[in-house]
Subunit: 249 residues, 2 copies
């Protein structure tokens, strides 16, 4: 196993960091790695905002449900889907690009572009001995995130990423069985096989929680996820996205 | 610079592969790396379909605009946003999850989850000396992709990834200036600074194309992208996504 694969397989989210900022050189390397990711038809439909300002970090932490590691870390990145520059280019080049920009397809392109860049940043940071945690909690209130970051229209902040020197060493959480996530030549059509895979995984996760909590927590993945999904969260998203002129047409 | 960072910075898409399939062990390692990526609230809302069947590869290649490397490679992966298993879990657990699953927010979550997994797969493959190319062209006709892959409802194929032993050695394409993609503490608000960055990049890309084509091609990034965006492509996407019960509510 090479170093890169062992870095990737060793990933676990870090939620407690030493009080030590990343150097500008580290930040630059991480962003350059993000930029080296593939991008759909060379569109580069994302941007990254790094937060050093303590008050801004505090506000982003409050938005994310007061997760302390949003405030206390080595650096905090926000990854945005960004079609703003493409609208400027359209104007400049005298081309009619808005129908294209305001489509579900281009929204997907921008979200995927941003996520590919982010994961390169994550792997790069981890290869440097740093820890990371994605912060989807920013989506609790993107209006306020936009205000904090002064983003123009057609820029949708998607998630944050706290990066820093790890001050904890949590275990890895078992993932869905390989056979459940990876299918060959077509999706698994046998519902019994499919549900058996879920059951197997539920037993594994239940044992994992039980062991980690000395028997206090025993829930399965299915019950945890069904409970989470029953809560209707962030249902303002469609309105927000279309209001920001990345329309879902 | 460590090995991982040099792998990431060295990325360029490979569009010509040796006629040599990946081993099952290589495929397994790549998928396990994909699964090690972060996932929003542990939801794991994606799946991966690997294609070995020659006829299926041929059909996917035709859908993607007859890109030969979709057919001829070491292995072909399709990454899907997948909320199918979550709807089954909801039923099984007797929880009302459909409002949540059929929201723009969960669509974003599933797309991001799939993209993070894919980029881990890409970096892992490249670290093994393999080359990769993302294939967004599958989105030319997702109805047919679904038919080829027999995917159930709530599964949206997002893009493919051709992987294999490189049979070419293309150069790296310069990315947008660092200062254009990365902002500190807030988005760049000075339009002159912003447009100057684009101009600088246009000169760089123009010189890059001119050199690579011995003077035959000189277009800028702005003109290339504006021209691409003027073509209205894949405007069926919203209808497709909602029809597949990942609703954009």
């Amino acid at each position: 196993m090479n170093e890169t694969i062992s870095t990737i397989l060793g990933h676990r989210s870090i939620r407690k960091f030493e009080d030590k900022p990343l150097s500008d050189e580290q930040i630059k390397t991480i962003v350059q790695c993000a930029q080296s990711a593939s991008t759909s038809s060379f569109i580069q439909a994302y941007s990254i905002i790094g937060i050093k300002d303590a008050e801004k970090k505090r506000r982003l932490s409050a938005i994310s449900g007061n997760q302390s590691y949003v405030e206390n870390n080595g650096h905090f990145f926000v990854f945005c889907a960004d079609l703003y520059r493409h609208s400027l280019i359209g104007e400049q080049e005298g081309r009619e690009v808005l129908d294209s920009l305001e489509s579900t397809e281009k929204f997907m392109v921008a979200v995927i572009d941003a996520a590919l860049a982010a994961q390169n940043a994550a792997v790069a940071a981890e290869s440097m001995g740093l820890g990371i945690c994605y912060i989807g909690g920013l989506r609790n209130n993107l209006e306020e995130v936009q205000e904090v970051l002064s983003t123009p229209e057609r820029v949708i902040p998607l998630f944050g990423m706290a990066v820093g020197y790890p001050a904890q060493d949590p275990g890895k959480k078992p993932r869905l069985p390989f056979s459940h996530v990876y299918h060959e030549d077509g999706y698994e059509q046998d519902l019994t096989v499919y549900m058996n895979g879920l059951e197997e995984y539920d037993r594994e996760i239940s044992a994992y929680y039980e062991e980690r909590t000395s028997g206090k927590r025993r829930d399965t993945w299915s019950s945890q996820i069904a409970g989470m999904l029953e809560k209707k969260s962030r249902l303002y998203m469609k309105e927000f996205v279309t209001k920001n002129k990345i329309d879902l047409k």
